[in-house]
Point group: C3
């Protein structure tokens, strides 16, 4: 998507930054209950915000994205700091809901942007973009949960990684048929991920029963 | 081992795929008991199957192996999916035993192939191939256990990483004396790892007492 | 700091090795209580000693440092092995104190050396050197704690990462004003980190109260 218009690039940039803020902010709330100090909280916020994309870039062997655009780091740091000292405000019902939906929008956009980046790099045929799209979207959160000693979302039956997978698979599967329509297709896939995830947040949806086998 | 004959390469390739299946399948059984959904199980299966080799390639700074051969991903995905919905079959005594021995064969072969690859890259003298051989063999399983919240095998006193180390050290130590005999030497070392590990599985062997100090 | 004098390089090299020993040795003591075997202990010691710098080099996309200087691996291996079988000696009051202060010196030096390396690589403006300095200093210990199932230091309110951050920020902030004085500045910053950390060890200091918000 390097050939999209500058106006869209600017839009994409600021949505990325809003997503970075949401990632960092929800991360701080997820670890604050365990009595972490502000320093640990800021580190956790930064890791959550940039961790997934860092793993993706290291596997792709391309320069790590935040090395040349520190906006991600500064926004993650500021959001983590403010969230830590404003926990009661940020964890109030409306602000926290806003953060969850921003997080959903960020997950959706980061996954599709990542899939597009991996496709451009020609890494791993069709499976590479899907896998690294998922890694980009959830890798930071997984790292945070592991460092905080929390259960990771892979064990939680929350509808988080599933919508990411659906949207990313659709993007990678449909793009060969609409090579000229990457922009429209990526918007459709971002919205698809966002709306499934938003529905899961709003109605508290879990993964459907046929996806869980218990012995 | 890039100069071995095409027939052997084909053999090696299919044993690698069988090993990938065993890695993914035993991984799914290791996490399924905790009530994971099929999506999480497939992700865990893939991470376990390719995680170790991915860490090795990233440290070596060579292209990540599954980026150019997606067979690893597809086989891991299919094996994870089937294992998840056929848990009672795969965890039946004979099938699970088969998987354990396949896992042992895979661990042995992946470790020696990795050591050979690291030697060819000239990374880290004699210690690099041994260390990255171990990382390749157990890195995926360690990542899975960390993400699943299970105790990692490093804490378990199971004879798993020890045979890998013995075989890899032998390979790296003997190769300078038999540079023409890499193929035979690698087969010997793979068999050595496999038979120690198989003996550990069969007789339930643990690490010997002098290797465990308790205060 | 590649242009510093050979005598200092030798000094730096041997302090690095002493730091590597301290990292490995304290790591083994941190996991030995859980009944790990000697093999697992040595792996944990090596991971703790070289893990942080490995993550830094992978993110920077430069050759991993221990690939061309195996001294780090051999010293970490030997220190881990000896510590494991001499646990009662190493955990005696004076030897353990020595190890803690050596660990503090190593953390200080590794952080500033890393910040300098990242600055030279031009990665991530001012934030990159600070972040990767912290990663280098604590990344190995975090990996060890995760693999051992211990609470990570980010959750512990111990004054460990905070002095590293203070010293690294000072180094990166002051260097543009004293480009000729990198050597002096780096010694000052190493000593600053060391003395804050040593004070924290000696008086059992924790992070100050305003840095911890509990709801």
């Amino acid at each position: 998507m390097s050939d999209i218009s500058p106006a869209l690039s600017a839009f994409e940039y600021w949505v990325s930054m809003a997503g970075t803020i949401a990632f960092a902010s929800t991360a701080v709330l997820a670890v604050a209950a365990k009595g972490i100090d502000v320093f640990g909280a800021v580190i956790m916020g930064i890791i959550t915000a940039v961790g997934g994309g860092t793993i993706r870039d290291v596997i792709l062997d391309v320069p790590v994205f935040w090395g040349s655009d520190l906006g991600y780091i500064w926004f993650a740091m500021a959001a983590s700091f403010v969230t830590y000292y404003a926990q009661s405000f940020v964890s109030s019902r409306y602000v926290y809901s806003l953060m969850l939906y921003l997080d959903a929008a960020a997950v959706a956009m980061f996954a599709i942007l990542a899939a597009s980046k991996v496709l451009d790099a020609g890494f791993g045929g069709a499976a590479g973009p899907v896998l690294l799209g998922i890694v980009t979207a959830i890798g930071g959160g997984l790292t945070r949960d592991v460092l905080a000693g929390n259960e990771t979302l892979l064990m939680k039956k929350e509808l988080y990684a599933v919508p990411v997978t659906i949207g990313t698979v659709l993007f990678v599967a449909a793009l060969p048929y609409y090579p000229e329509g990457e922009l429209v297709l990526s918007i459709v896939c971002v919205l698809l991920i966002f709306f499934i995830r938003a529905a899961a947040i709003h109605w508290g949806l879990r993964v459907p029963r046929w996806m869980v086998v218990t012995k």
